[in-house]
């Protein structure tokens, strides 16, 4: 029977290959398998995490447990409303500092009278141009 390849061992390590009788019959492959298991234990051993960090994390979790369940959602709404108010305020200030150009009543009446006296609307003038030789 053929020896297991590296891919066979890799698949076996990750549960993708069943252990076949060859491993029991072949001392070389069995030894390699045992080496890989040891290697894996060394590599995947849990790293150390600082106790201070874990304690701080627990305190943060307790703090959050004591919060009202919806306070975070409510806070998001409050922030959104505040943002909207700031935008509205900015828009109002902008309008106040740069008011639109207004025309006097006199000017308005004069323009209206001029339009009224024309035989046809000013917008039609370009069309006349098309028929002129």
């Amino acid at each position: 029977m053929n020896h297991w390849t590296e891919i066979d061992f890799e698949h076996w390590l990750y549960g993708l290959k069943e252990q076949d009788p060859h491993l029991n019959e072949c001392p070389d492959c069995r030894q390699e398998m045992e080496r890989l298991v040891r290697e894996r234990q060394g590599i995947t051993a849990q790293p150390q995490v600082s106790h201070e960090f874990l304690a701080a994390q627990r305190r943060a979790i307790y703090r959050r447990l004591e919060e009202r369940p919806h306070s975070r959602v409510a806070m998001r709404w409050v922030l959104s409303a505040a943002m909207l108010l700031v935008m509205l305020f900015g828009f109002t200030i902008q309008r106040w500092r740069h008011p639109g150009q207004s025309i006097s009543d006199e000017q308005l009446f004069s323009d209206l009278a001029a339009m009224d006296q024309r035989a046809e609307p000013a917008a039609i003038q370009p069309i006349h141009g098309l028929f002129q030789q």
Partner: protein, 196 residues
Amino acid sequence: MGVMADRLAAGVGTLADTREFGLWMASEQKRIFLLCRRMLDDSEDADSATQDAFLKAWQALKRPEFNDIVDPHKWVTRIAINTCLDRLRSRRWQFWRKRPNPIEETAILQLEPSGAPDASDQLFAKQISVRLDGALKKLSLKQRAAFTLRHYEDRSLAEIAEILGLNVGTVKVHLFRATEKLREELHDLYFREGRK
């Protein structure tokens, strides 16, 4: 499984007790944090995900319609994995996200495994861990979750399937593709030249 977890599993009903919950949380906290850290590759994000996971567990336990937990260990793992997957999905849009600070990472986590016998083994484990963390980013979210649970937590395919809510066949496909993509990294991990 800790004392609290046993009591939870027995359905004693003291889950909603803050002190009991605290004891159980302390017994699972490091494992869940490291799982999140491996999934997210960022200690700060993992810290926040761990907090979220325990908070979700607490809120679930508080619900009147909540049923008994068969296996609290697996249950909290599922919550943590789902929290990490949600974060990884939303991370795709967060182009402004800052990179993890290596100094802070070192302060929280000593990457060398506590049981490593000598300095060269510790150095190797550290190097390979950094490389593997980088390589995990190449995997899809489900592949990453399946591989992390198998590689670091040594879970069976059936357990991974239960945690991820998939069938065993799908988990096998995810793991197969993950190992294919990580072949170079894994080869280095196990089949080093001249290393006995």
